[in-house]
Symmetry: C2
Subunit: 342 residues, 2 copies
DNA sequence: ATTGATAAAGTTAACGTTAACTATATCGTA
DNA sequence: TACGATATAGTTAACGTTAACTTTATCAAT
């Protein structure tokens, strides 16, 4: 039996026109109920699968969304991506995932590639405060949503954690122990989330009357090794008790390792907090005090936001009215989860 | 300035034919060096990006690969995917990633969707020993590579860890302590990797003259919670010292948590091993004894294998000769990493 | 019976690209 | 000078789908 791969095959098999089949499959009102059923049944019987490439080509739009994330093997983003994917999938979209590794050039290259693929939209975690990506997306006229970071606070549509508040809550929590020494292992300085965390950290210190000392903030920590090395250096020059606040659970794990190697106890000698509440650590001792970030929900929200953008754009096209939608910002509430390291 | 999005725009801008531009961009020998440079320069100047959808449509093949994995937020697969993605990207392919969550029906649905997207190939982690997926892929004539598991040992092309050997090495290591009680928290029973691990476990026991007792093997553990619960149940009926072998580091983390909660010491009371060597745990105390699996390399290898398949298929088409390639199996060597839990 | 409205089908053309084919210019050689 | 070979260009058609338009059938109202 010959494979049925085109509308034409269906049409010939049924003795109707190609358009009729197309209309039936797309639930167009032109087709009578009887005929529609006939066609749908036959299509199912021969296991016809529409050619999405041809459809995308004809319609000049795909059901493909580009996801440009710094690193999909980071458990934080893995969860975010999962939320995105599941949400988009419900709406019939598929995801092309790309890892930028915080490299602006790669990010820019990817956006070009996505342009070539004619993606319907992009969800992006922009690398260090670069504006080029935004510019490109606007130039290419691709709807996009930023996730976990923004490029400029009032522009763009994005979904982020309230980083200022997260850091504020953590720092307050640590300040409450009455120890003035609160180190902060922060992320890359150009990134909005790192900047906002720093602001929150400062606000808490101020509130507690603790003077801000820039040499207690380590910038540029991205992974466990950075956390480990930074903590080691801190321990060389500083004697516990003191507190440490980490930009991520990853960094915290590295820092804890360094602290334990020196024979210090958590939380007795060093009170330490992470951020993200990545799943795997919930079973690891000592159980990490951290900020619960709704990773899955951030993914879901950004996907929903993007779909909203896509739909409003389609409406615009249809009623020519062109009511340009405003940028939307979703800021998720962080939750302080106090466990054993503080 | 009008956006240049089509070959036609380039052609008009330069006063040559569309085909000439197409040939120049595709490095076709028909075009003189001078003209080629002229065209390429102009294309670059106006930032022309070829329409991949149109190209895919015309050529009846895309540069898109479907990745169907049980769960991208599992750090093991996250690494594998990363390897796949980076390798495919070098060859100009992009990845559509889908999570099956070990659900055969979803897997089958995804394969259909990928068919519709006209993907060039598929990399798949098949859910529990189902043959339908393979059948579908063969029916649809989509080249595919299985990763981390196979459906049938001698069929298909796949990249796996030598699971039998991995479990054998782990079990031998635990046997060497002279304790007869070696529990095994295993994965879903239908999956090839779980079956092979069980075989390796049995082989080691036999070699050490320890009799195999089926009630010491817990099947169906997939995550930390399963590890935790299973270990709890074991501890209710069994008093340390004994040994535990876990299908994954994830399960091991859960089990360790249960053991520590009961106040037992690792490795003194319980010697325990994981599998996978997921990165984040390398800084976590007690440092887990585990099997190092070349996750990234497995991803790279499966991507390379798939590209080989795609290329050989293209050759087939060209020289009509149809020299069908054999199935290929790549079996990666596991490495026992002895750390602190054993 | 004629008209007009509507329902249900069919025809046509186009989306951007490239493979296959055709046309023209150039050049070396008999 | 004429010939074929070759280099370099252009023309045409097609990939599968659907939007826009056209045609035909049906039926109610005059």
């Amino acid at each position: 039996m010959k494979r049925v791969t085109r509308l034409k095959d269906l049409a010939e098999g049924l003795g109707v026109s190609i358009t009729t089949v197309s209309k039936a499959l797309n639930d167009h009102p032109d087709i009578s109920a009887k005929r529609k059923k006939e066609i749908l049944d036959y299509a199912k019987e021969v296991n016809y699968i529409p050619n999405q490439v041809a459809r995308s080509f004809r319609q000049q739009r795909t059901k493909m969304i580009g996801i440009v994330i710094s690193d999909n093997s980071n458990p934080f983003y893995a969860r975010v991506i999962r939320g995105i994917e599941e949400t988009l999938s419900v709406h019939g979209y598929h995801c092309v995932v790309m890892n930028s590794h915080e490299d602006v050039d790669k990010e820019i290259q990817f956006i070009g590639e996505l342009r070539g693929l004619n993606v319907a939209g992009v969800i992006l975690t922009p690398a260090s405060g670069n504006k080029k990506s935004r510019e490109l997306l606007k130039n290419y006229d691709i709807p996009y949503v930023l996730v976990n970071r923004y490029i400029e606070k009032d522009e763009d549509t994005y979904v982020v954690l309230d980083d200022e508040q997260a850091a504020y809550m953590t720092a307050r929590h640590l300040c409450s122990y009455g120890n003035d020494k609160i180190f902060f292992l922060n992320f890359l300085p150009g990134v909005s989330s790192a900047q906002n965390r720093l602001a929150g950290y400062k606000r808490a210190l101020k509130e507690y009357g603790v003077s801000y000392e820039s040499n207690m903030v380590v910038s540029g920590c991205t992974n466990q090794t950075d956390g480990y090395e930074s903590m080691k250096r801190i321990l060389e020059k500083n004697k516990p008790p003191f507190c440490v606040m980490c930009y991520s659970d990853y960094i915290a794990i590295g820092a804890i390792c360094a602290i334990q190697e020196r024979g210090f106890n958590l939380p007795h000698d060093v009170a330490l907090c992470g951020n993200d509440d990545i799943g795997i650590l919930s079973f690891v001792k000592p159980r990490l005090t951290t900020i619960g970030a709704p990773k899955l929900r951030m993914g879901i929200a950004s996907a929903e936001l993007l779909i909203e953008l896509l739909e409003s754009r389609q409406e615009e096209e249809e009623n020519e009215g062109a009511i340009k939608k405003e940028e939307k910002h979703i800021v998720m509430k962080p939750e302080l989860i106090i466990r054993e390291t503080s």
